[in-house]
């Protein structure tokens, strides 16, 4: 039976299994994890695309629908990448299931990458579907598609890390929801999803440059429309630095087992 006869160890299998489990977890409740955010984004698209989109213009040469669509796609990517990591890890901590992982050979890098990739998959799935639906409301020029994809992946990665960190620090469901309701949501709305910051009064425009989400949204829109408030270098530089910083922080916390191990 058990005992001294051990089976062959496959070093990558713990990572692959955890990734599979995380994907299955959100897939099992896809009405909540995929369908709901897609419907929400579609409502935004309907309001800003079919109703107001033709009547407003905030950027010369583009309809309002064309302006707002990149922001709405990225909003779906960001929210869902964050929600996947934060809810999965927090539930594991809260219900005690994390212990099942802590006793296995899953290493901290494998742990982080499995959670991150599953969150990125959910985020990009939502973003891709929203992007598909948006074609009903406006056609996009897609000036630099590879850069747009890169920025979406970077945003997804960054918010997966933030989700891990939030799940580690949250004491209960209330504090966890505060991260998305009182931090991410205002930063997204004030980060230029619905308007270019260049139309703001000077003080507010300057303050907007302090909003880290502005660089993600602006870089993504820049890659799709070919026009942005900042350069690619600035958008990718700031976003990349933030992603690295949060990854380092998450890796340090998980490597130490902070609030995971007693």
């Amino acid at each position: 039976m058990a005992g001294e006869s051990q089976r062959q160890y496959h070093p990558w299998l713990p990572f692959v299994t955890l990734l599979r489990k995380e994907i299955l977890r959100f897939w099992r409740v896809s009405s909540q994890t995929l369908l709901t955010p897609i419907i929400t984004a579609s409502l935004y698209l309907f309001v800003f695309g079919a109703t107001l989109g033709e009547r407003l213009s905030v950027l010369e040469g583009f309809s309002y629908a064309q302006f707002v669509i990149p922001g709405l796609i990225l909003m779906g990517v960001i929210n869902n990448s964050f929600a996947n990591c934060s809810s999965s890890l927090f539930m594991s901590r809260y219900l005690g299931g994390i212990v099942d992982l802590l006793v296995t050979p899953v290493s901290p890098p494998q742990f982080i990458m499995a959670y991150t990739l599953a969150a990125m998959l959910r985020g990009t799935l939502v973003g891709t579907v929203v992007c598909g639906i948006s074609t009903l409301f406006a056609s996009m020029p897609w000036e630099a598609p590879l850069l747009a994809i890169l920025m979406a992946l970077l945003a997804s990665f960054l918010f997966a890390q933030f989700g891990l960190i939030a799940a580690i620090f949250a004491h209960n469901f209330d504090t966890l929801s505060m991260y998305s309701n009182f931090l991410i949501l205002p930063l997204i709305y004030l980060g230029g999803v619905f308007y270019p910051i260049s139309i703001l009064p000077e003080t507010w425009e300057r303050l907007s440059y302090l909003n880290p989400l502005f660089y993600l949204i602006d870089g993504f829109r820049h890659a799709i429309l070919g026009v942005g408030d900042t350069s690619y270098l600035m958008a990718f530089g700031v976003s990349g630095a933030m992603a690295l910083g949060l990854f380092g922080w998450a890796a340090w916390l998980i490597g130490k087992g902070y609030r995971l191990r007693t």
């Binding site: 058990a2 062959q8 599979r20 219900l95 005690g96 296995t104």
Partner: protein, 314 residues
């Protein structure tokens, strides 16, 4: 030359752990040999689960060292965790999955491919077959316990750690679980267990260690511990009733009962019954019948830990 192959299944040296400045485990050292069933007992808060959590990697080690089969559980954690299977005291389940799916996932977490023959053997031996398609939320407490044992064994660990595996489990299931534990032990798996039921520990364990207030206060072979520390009583039924206690039996805490027809004497640990019998005969007492009574692990446990009543064993 050093070789992990020659090491004990588990070696703990000067282990220490504190929570918020309060010591939970103080300089604990012991070793478990391969193939043993080793019982770690102690009252609530003695430090048993903390020790187990440090072995398993759930709790960080403040000081000291733990080696599993010669490998350091911190430095070589990927190696040691493949060799350990842990059944936690608290029920830990993932409500998203069915028993079958969860067992397949758990094999993967340990880096081993699913072995359907082994998985099915565990499912059958633990009586999980009729419940395979149920999600965890729908399982009874007993089924969850059985699933946790299957989960801990799915990667064929060499050392199985059972932290109160039968807490809240009915008598029939307890017997079934212990029978299964004996079976996998016979196949070569070393067992470390804590249990609330001291009679089970006495019956199951080759050796027992007792912890109290974070310290190891006793550790030896189960029968030796009971023999050395338990009280043995000899009851003599006498032909002629005694009116008063004979001089010379004071060291045996004598008691006269039944109008002087029954004399109860306590045999100190380590003293043979023959010596006491000779003493009684020398005093000229005519013996009609003798009865002996030996207390078990429960009394030894109470004696060592100063516990009373039923609040022990955790």
């Amino acid at each position: 030359m050093y070789s992990p192959r020659m090491e004990s299944a588990l070696t703990i040296e000067n282990l220490q752990k504190a929570f918020g400045g309060v010591a939970a485990v103080k300089e604990v050292s012991f070793a478990i040999e391969r193939g043993e069933i080793f019982g770690l007992l102690g009252p609530n808060g003695a430090g048993k689960s903390t020790t187990i959590n440090m072995i398993a990697g759930v709790a960080r080690i403040d000081a000291g060292q733990i080696r599993a089969f010669g490998y350091d559980v911190q430095r070589d954690y990927r190696m040691t965790r493949q060799m350990l299977g842990v059944v936690h005291q608290e029920i830990v389940i993932d409500n998203f999955f069915t028993i079958d799916q969860a067992l397949k996932l758990h094999a993967g977490y340990y880096g081993v491919k699913d072995d359907p023959a082994w998985r099915n053997l565990l499912i059958d031996r633990l009586g999980l077959r009729p419940h395979l398609g149920k999600v965890m939320l729908k399982l009874s407490g007993g089924l969850k316990r059985r699933f946790m044992i299957a989960k801990a064994l799915i990667h064929r660990p060499r050392l199985l750690i059972l932290d109160e595996p039968t807490a809240g489990v009915d008598v029939e299931l307890r017997h079934g679980l212990w029978e299964f534990v004996r079976e996998i032990n016979r196949e070569g798996t070393t067992i470390l267990l804590t249990t609330h039921y001291l009679e089970e520990a006495e019956e199951m364990c080759d050796r027992i260690a007792i912890m109290n207030h974070g310290e190891l206060i006793a550790m030896e072979e189960t029968h030796e511990l009971v023999r050395r520390l338990s009280n043995r009583q000899l009851r003599f039924w006498l032909e002629v009733p005694l009116k008063e206690m004979p001089v010379g039996l004071e060291g045996y805490r004598p008691k006269l009962k039944e109008d002087g027809r029954e004399l109860e004497l306590n045999l100190p640990a380590g003293e043979s019954a023959g010596v006491l019998l000779n003493r009684v005969c020398e005093l000229g007492l005519k013996i009609r019948d003798i009865e002996t009574d030996q207390s078990g692990l429960e009394e030894v446990f109470i004696q060592l830990t100063g516990m009373k009543g039923n609040n022990h064993g955790r």
